[in-house]
Amino acid sequence: MKYPTKIIHGGVDRDPFTGASSIPIYQVSTFAQKDPETFGDYEYARGDNPTRAALEQNIALLEGGARGLAFASGMAAISSVLLLFRPGDHLVVGEDIYGGTYRILTSLFERWGLESTFVDSTDLDALRDAIRPETKAILVETPSNPTLKITDLAAVAAMAREKGLLTITDNTFMTPCLQRPLELGFDIVVHSATKFLGGHSDLIAGLAVTKDRELGRKLRFIQVAFGAILGPMDSWLVLRGVKTLGARMEAQQKSAELIANWLTGVRDVRRVYYPSLAGREGREIHRRQASGWGAVVSFELSSARRAKALLRSVKLPLMAVSLGGVESILSYPATMSHASMPPAERKRRGITDALVRLSVGLEAAEDIMEDLERALKKASGRSDRNRKQG
């Protein structure tokens, strides 16, 4: 079965009882049992819910893993994965990780004795050098958020395997539609399903997929015991979103590439971050490990003032946190996705106050470019006038 067909029929395209073409929403907390000693497949909905199970089965199939698990948010998924470790363990983490992940690692898990060292994960030697005797895992994101740096997944996985470490990656930006890290040797994939998988900016959800059954069993224990599960309605909405994932990703990344190319020639835009652009480091690695460039473009303006003015004057992209929806979203990493990272750390990663991140949606690319062009003109006009006024 080809990938677009898998997305539609990922084993969950009909209800076995009625043939309903949409999986039912089991809005239920508990399941009546027939016997006090032997329970049926479903017992209590924190443990298992048929709607959530359909989504979990679906994502496992799409990522090519043994076990999929659904959580209340992307952070709940990552946090639950991090509970696999114990005090005294150490992680090597790509420094360009999502701000929320950085925050729990440095302000929550560190308190409980799980230490992390942040390194540039595009540099395999740097990753290797950070490994200590107590290191248990490597956690990376590629493309990274928001500067879209590329990490070589197969190389990291091979190195980790040699050292006996687990490998975890956040595949939110790509989705399994474009990149399947488990096939490249990774052990665990996590997602903020709020983004491209859900795709409509109308729910919060997280997913994790393990490559093997044993790891899946451990993570499932955490899911049930810790309980940060995804509810049935949201599980159903993610499943519904996944049905159009292929079509959305294709259209959105086509527009993103057009917009990224166009931005490179726009005055006032100092730098454009998009994996396909000529000269971008990691371009070839990304081409090897993924089947598309994705739909997120970051770009840096000539000043922080212009960036803020642009954010204030765009009309089409919604100025908001988040990404991956059908509507384009322009965000400001410095005060949004990466606000929880100290300014010095941000700066070191190239997340300057002049950087904006555009998640390209399903609108016509011409409409987005027209709006950006108008807003950019307005942004530079205003700052010029301000300068004249002193």
């Binding site: 079965m1 080809k2 990938y3 677009p4 067909t5 997305i7 539609i8 029929h9 395209d13 009909r14 043939g19 073409s21 949409s22 795709g199 409509h200 900016s201 109308d202 519904r240 049905k243 159009t244 292929g246 079509a247 959305r248 294709e250 259209a251 089409l316 919604l318 908001a320 929806g325 059908v326 509507e327 384009s328 979203i329 949606g361 399903l362 609108e363 016509a364 011409e366 409409d367 987005i368």
Partner: protein
């Protein structure tokens, strides 16, 4: 603004207070009045509900109409349009019409004294000849269900208007993404939103779009007075479906074109009805009035004995009634969608025991071909 942009951001800017980019689901029956004789614009959800309104406003913009109205099903939408007519009025309708519309006309409205005459609306001359006497409305399905014949909406609507006859187009198969009947001169467009507009086989709904304030006023009156309105949760799901309408249509009709070409060369398929195929009678006409040929195909297989085997043998296609969703469906019109049409009419029209209807979904086209090929060889 292009249609893709309109669709992607449907309802995204409604909530000023919180900035929520998804339209809230207003599960409210009633609305508190600010004071005596004052209204927030919403009084009671049968009359108007914010979530339903967001959907209705989006549809009105897509159709280029004055206002749109959402109903509990496609048939509830058609029923509302029928209420514009009165006892003694006559209507001319497409003869190979959706069976549910046929049933509504014959078994409900005939008893109320509204008589529907049927014509081959792909024949403009015949259709115009039928627009006489007490005829007050012409109801066109384009393309028709299931034979995919094409009526010339522009020519028929122009002549109907001269004679004071309302033109209503059931646009379920193409959606405003591919064809906008009001721009072609029709007075009203209806859609079963259950199909492409919703697009996920998980919600029932119907939409009427009216071209003028006068017609809007009358439809609004009936919508409220009769009350077959769409609920807020389903309105929201439809709105969510609309966001991907354009990409879905594009891909699905691309798949359909590939499939239709392949089927037309299949030795066990006697005839393929698809308006995009060279040699289809309505191809040029549809090419003029629509931005695409849609994703519906009907096929005539060699032998009626193949039908049960195909329906039981498909693995990717779902054997189910309905159409327009992301999943490909296969339907047997003679016993499913058109069961209420008498056999004699069905036979004459060609809705016989060898005809199967395919709604082509978002799957990979090659997988669909492999699936059908296997089922056709059983």
């Amino acid at each position: 603004m292009k249609i893709e942009t309109e669709l992607a951001q449907a309802g995204s800017r409604w909530d000023e207070r919180t900035g929520a980019v998804s339209m809230p689901v207003y599960h409210a029956a009633t609305f508190r009045h600010p004071g005596l004789g004052q209204t927030t614009g919403f009084d009671y959800s049968r009359t108007s509900n914010p979530t339903r309104l967001a959907l209705e406003e989006t549809m009105a913009r897509l159709d280029g109409g004055h206002r749109a109205f959402a109903f509990a099903s496609g048939l509830a939408a058609i029923d509302c349009v029928m209420r514009l007519f009165k006892r003694g009025d006559r209507i001319v309708a497409t003869e190979d019409l959706y069976g549910g519309s046929f049933r509504l006309f014959e078994k409900v409205y005939r008893d109320h004294g509204i008589e529907v005459a049927y014509a081959d609306t792909s024949n403009t001359r015949k259709t115009l000849n039928a627009l006489n006497g007490a005829v007050r409305g012409v109801f066109l399905e384009v393309p028709t269900n299931p034979l995919l014949r094409i009526a010339d909406v522009k020519a028929i609507a122009a002549e109907a208007r001269k004679r004071g006859i309302l033109t209503i187009v059931d646009n379920t198969f193409l959606t405003p993404c591919l064809m906008r009947p009001l721009e072609l001169g029709a007075d009203l467009a209806v859609c079963s939103a259950t199909k492409y507009l919703g697009g996920h086989n998980d919600v029932l709904g119907g939409v009427v779009t009216a071209g003028t304030p006068e017609l809007s006023g009358r439809i609004a009156f009936f919508q409220n007075a009769v009350g077959a309105v769409l609920g807020p949760q389903d309105s929201w799901l439809l709105l969510r479906g609309l966001k991907t309408l354009s990409v879905r249509m594009e891909r699905q009709q691309k798949n359909a074109a590939v499939l239709a070409r392949w089927l037309s060369r299949h030795p066990r398929v006697r005839k393929v009805h698809y308006p995009g195929l060279a040699g289809h009678r309505g191809r040029l006409c549809l090419g003029r009035q629509a931005g695409g040929f849609g994703a519906m195909i009907s096929i005539e297989v060699e032998d009626p004995a193949m039908v049960p085997r195909i329906l039981a043998g498909v693995r990717v296609f779902l054997f189910a009634e309905s159409l327009g969703g992301v999943e490909s469906l296969i339907t047997f019109p003679a016993v499913q969608t058109h069961a209420d049409m008498n056999e004699e009419i069905r036979e004459r029209l060609g809705i016989h025991d060898r005809l199967l209807r395919l709604s082509v979904g978002l799957e990979n086209a090659e997988d669909l071909i492999v699936d059908l090929d296997a089922a056709l060889s059983l």
